[in-house]
């Protein structure tokens, strides 16, 4: 086994162990836990109309609370279009 493969196996093992223990510590699915509830969704449902002015709370989240996420999505779309036009440029005659 080469040195490079050995490093890859070590790295993979570390990531797998972390993923496994994170999965064990995850919030139980479908079980209501009174004192372990996230507060973000309640805040958005209660205040999105008065804080962003949008009746559609999803738009309020996408364009106001999580604007950087939408910026990333727009960048992904831009990169995709640029790549496709670049690849098919030589066939255009």
């Amino acid at each position: 086994m080469s040195k490079r493969n050995f490093a890859a196996v070590i790295f993979f093992t570390i990531v797998a162990v972390f993923l496994f223990f994170t999965a064990l510590m995850m919030h139980p699915f479908g079980i209501f836990d009174e004192d372990n509830q996230p507060e973000m969704d309640d805040h958005i449902i209660d205040n999105s109309q008065t804080e962003t002015g949008a009746n559609n709370a999803v738009t309020g989240v996408v364009f106001d609370y999580r604007g950087f996420d939408t910026l990333g999505e727009a960048t992904v779309l831009f990169t995709a279009v640029a790549g496709v036009i670049l690849v098919f440029r030589r066939l255009k005659k």
């Binding site: 109309q49 008065t50 962003t52 002015g53 949008a54 009746n55 559609n56 999803v58 738009t59 309020g60 996408v62 364009f63 106001d64 604007g67 950087f68 939408t70 910026l71 999505e73 727009a74 779309l77 831009f78 995709a80 279009v81 496709v84 036009i85 098919f88 066939l91 255009k92 005659k93």
Partner: protein
């Protein structure tokens, strides 16, 4: 791909304006009803792709150049980021909703609870919806158009 039969062309020409109106409605009411820039843009791009399929890529490429579509897409991106930077200039935070509750356009604060909704509300969100919608329309249609045209030129479809 020089287009399909006359029946398909006629029917898609009749259906095209309704698809456009529906997609533009989804974009324009993004801050009031379900949907938004991405979804409405996908609908409008689908209507344009229907015309592309029925009339053929060579005919469509003669009408719409993909360079103009890339200019439109870049315009959408610049408006989107420009609105965010205006929030940074006027309110100090990137992506700040600086038009909300101001004395400019889109400034009406809605009543809390389930209401009909006012189009002239929500601050910068309608502007960003339009920018993202323009971006998605131009981007998706440019991808489909360029791919279809390249397939025709490679001999994939009937000449």
């Amino acid at each position: 791909m020089s287009g399909m039969s006359k029946i398909v062309k006629t029917i898609s020409s009749i259906a095209f304006p309704f698809v456009m109106i529906y997609g533009l409605y989804i974009i324009a009411h993004g801050h009031l009803t379900p949907g938004g820039g991405f979804q409405g843009g996908a609908i409008v791009a689908s209507g344009a792709a229907m015309i592309l399929v029925s009339y053929g890529s060579v005919w469509t490429m003669g009408k719409v150049k993909e360079k103009k579509l890339s200019i439109l897409e870049s315009t959408g991106a610049i408006v989107f980021i420009g609105t965010a930077i205006l929030g940074l200039l006027f309110a100090g935070v990137f992506f700040n909703n600086f038009l909300f509750d101001s004395n400019l356009i889109f400034n009406i604060v809605p009543v809390k609870g389930s209401t009909v909704g006012i189009l002239n509300s929500a601050g910068t969100l309608p502007i960003m919806n339009f920018a993202v919608g323009l971006k998605v329309v131009a981007g998706l249609f440019a991808i489909v158009l360029v791919m279809a045209y390249a397939t025709t030129k490679m001999g994939g479809g009937k000449k």
